[in-house]
Symmetry: C2
Subunit: 236 residues, 2 copies
């Protein structure tokens, strides 16, 4: 198995995904939110790039969720805080999600044979699922405003660590993946601190979303692996 890591959405050329399994990572917060929503019983998540697209789908009974500049979009029922996606709110619902980086990353990865979503919450489960799909793997760090985001790189490193441990075949890793694995190895005792000190973490704390960071910093608390099927994300 060959593993590559793309540092941000900006770097994601479509041809890098062909014949591969893509793992999209947006730890703060889109993919953490997807995992939490599906874990809480949401039926499906429809990732869209614009607010207009989301509003169009509202008329078909979808629940609207998402953020711009970290904040809930006016008229939407939910923002992008995983803590808002409780079973009471989302069970049995179909959700439209639009976020600044994460949902864009899913769209960029669509040429892959399979598109999974990962965060710290489901890293090991996602690594296991990727191995079962028997493709080379490209990890797409969503990043933030076209820049690398520390928490996504750290999560990529964690997933590579798990892929190496769990794969029965030999694993080749590109230079950026090796760097992220090194980052994870030097950070595994202080994952929550890394998130708090990251640019996205600082921004969320400043805007009053500090509790989201705690939720997103949990390792392997979920066995849910969100998987793209057509235009929808469902439990893989």
């Amino acid at each position: 198995m060959h593993i590559e890591v793309i540092s941000s959405v900006n770097e994601a050329r479509a041809d890098r995904f062909t014949h591969r399994t893509a793992i999209v990572i947006d730890v703060l917060r889109a993919t953490s939110t997807m995992i939490t929503a599906l874990q809480a019983g949401a039926v499906s998540i429809y990732p869209v790039e614009t607010v207009l697209e989301a509003r169009t789908l509202q008329r078909q009974g979808y629940m609207l969720a998402g953020e711009r500049f970290c904040r809930k979009i006016p008229g939407f029922e939910l923002g992008n805080s995983p803590n808002d996606f409780t079973p009471e709110v989302v069970q049995g619902r179909r959700i439209v999600l639009t976020t600044t980086n994460g949902t864009r990353a899913v769209h960029k990865a669509m040429r892959a044979d399979f598109v999974l979503s990962a965060a710290l919450l489901n890293a090991t489960a996602c690594a296991k699922a990727a191995i079962e799909l028997r493709r080379d793997v490209v990890l797409l760090c969503a990043g933030c405003h076209d820049d690398f985001a520390l928490e996504d790189g750290l999560c990529a490193g964690l997933i590579i660590d798990r892929l190496k441990a769990l794969s029965s075949s030999s694993v080749g890793i590109d230079d950026f993946g090796t760097a992220m694995l090194g980052l994870y190895h030097s950070s595994k005792e202080c994952v929550a601190e890394r998130l708090t000190a990251s640019s996205s973490g600082k921004r969320l704390i400043k805007m009053g979303f500090g509790r989201d960071i705690e939720s997103c910093a949990q390792l392997d608390t979920s066995g849910i692996v969100p998987k793209l099927q057509g235009d929808m994300i469902i439990v893989g």
Copy 2:
């Protein structure tokens, strides 16, 4: 002091260098070669982007050095192997150097107030010099064919480690810099192995330049800090 790291030449927008000290890193091999050449007594290095420019300067008494696809350019006196730049060969000489990534990176950084060249060989000396220049610092990893190169990221992490240790003012680091610092911390016992396992390292070994990797993997063996002055690189 604020520190940013750019992952490859491809990512280097000119505005990121304004009012800053740029540190250009191309461990395998351009900046290691510059340090070695100046250490061996070369008077100056003229970094040019094309073979044609280099040939034009030959008529003015410059010694031509450089590579394309790792190999010496036909008609050039020297390639890009630091080991070729001995005092016997380069003392008192002015050298034109053209390489695939490193010299291009120097040109990209030219808008900075100061442009230094770094490699593992001079990491601590370069950090000291940057502190004395009293600017925010942007480290430009040259990378390889527009991609991130592990050895350049590792060197960036090492320099950040030294900047943090030596700076008397507080140091802020962007997310990519924090990741590279983490990479360095997890690699400091195995720097040579990291270079050997990197994409550039593997390519050089395959082409018979394994000895260059050993030379470039030495830490802090030189106090030389190449510095751009006008169009020339001289001892800073």
